[in-house]
């Protein structure tokens, strides 16, 4: 199964807040661009806020980035929206038979291999910032 689109939507939200920084980026405005429900956006904004990526206030329309664009990596967003837990990208079957040499060792043997694969994926995310995303869109739009 795929990793939740919350991650992609989180990137979308942050990027749009940056592009619209002169204006008011309300959950309704964001929801329109993402094409979803404002409540979905507000839930994600809550996660991004909790992770210290944006500033939002109850009753006050709009959100602002809490950090420099170049200082927010895709990994930060990925962790903020809680799509994959540490060491849990791959699931391992539980309760293999302890009387079998394979059954009693397979989990401990596989786990570090899976973790290494997950870390390699996450390393790529750490090396991309929202600034890269914004620049790419700017280029595509010829702004």
């Amino acid at each position: 199964m795929s990793i939740s689109s919350r991650f992609a939507v989180g990137i979308h939200i942050l990027t749009l807040i940056e592009f619209n920084k002169e204006g008011v980026t309300s959950s309704e405005y964001l929801a329109s661009s993402v094409n979803t429900n404002p409540a979905v956006i507000r839930k994600l904004m809550g996660m991004l806020k909790k992770a210290g990526l944006i500033e939002v206030h109850p009753g006050i329309a709009g959100a602002k980035l809490a950090k420099e664009l170049s200082n927010i990596t895709l990994f930060d967003v990925y962790k903020a929206v809680n799509v994959v837990q540490e060491k849990e990208l791959f699931s391992i079957h539980e309760s293999p038979h302890p009387d079998c040499p394979i059954g009693r060792n397979i989990q401990n043997t596989i786990e570090p291999l899976f973790t290494a694969a997950q870390l390699a994926m996450e390393k790529v995310l750490r090396n991309v910032t929202l600034e890269d995303v914004v620049k790419d869109i700017t280029t595509k739009e010829n702004i």
Copy 2:
């Protein structure tokens, strides 16, 4: 969400076939070690067979590896059991608004980044063979 344990179980199955190569590795025997239902194992055996990793025959008990241990990578198993599709480790929200500069570009901007992360993960899987797994278990068991 996590990637299906079919992957871990697939590795378990292949490893156990190797360890038990002098004996008869039936779906019931495998199911006992994995601690699941024989039908689940048979479904996975079908996938592993289709991928050319094992040999199984209707009516004849047991399975044999179709390739050298050192010639089967974790990536081969991963593809065989069909847990993640190409370019689909991460899902991207559909139908963002085309009238928004972000909405109409976000998918194309994000997609290669997500693909790069997925490929980095898969590269790690390509560099581990079942022989590594077997050796690790052999060491742990002091055989």
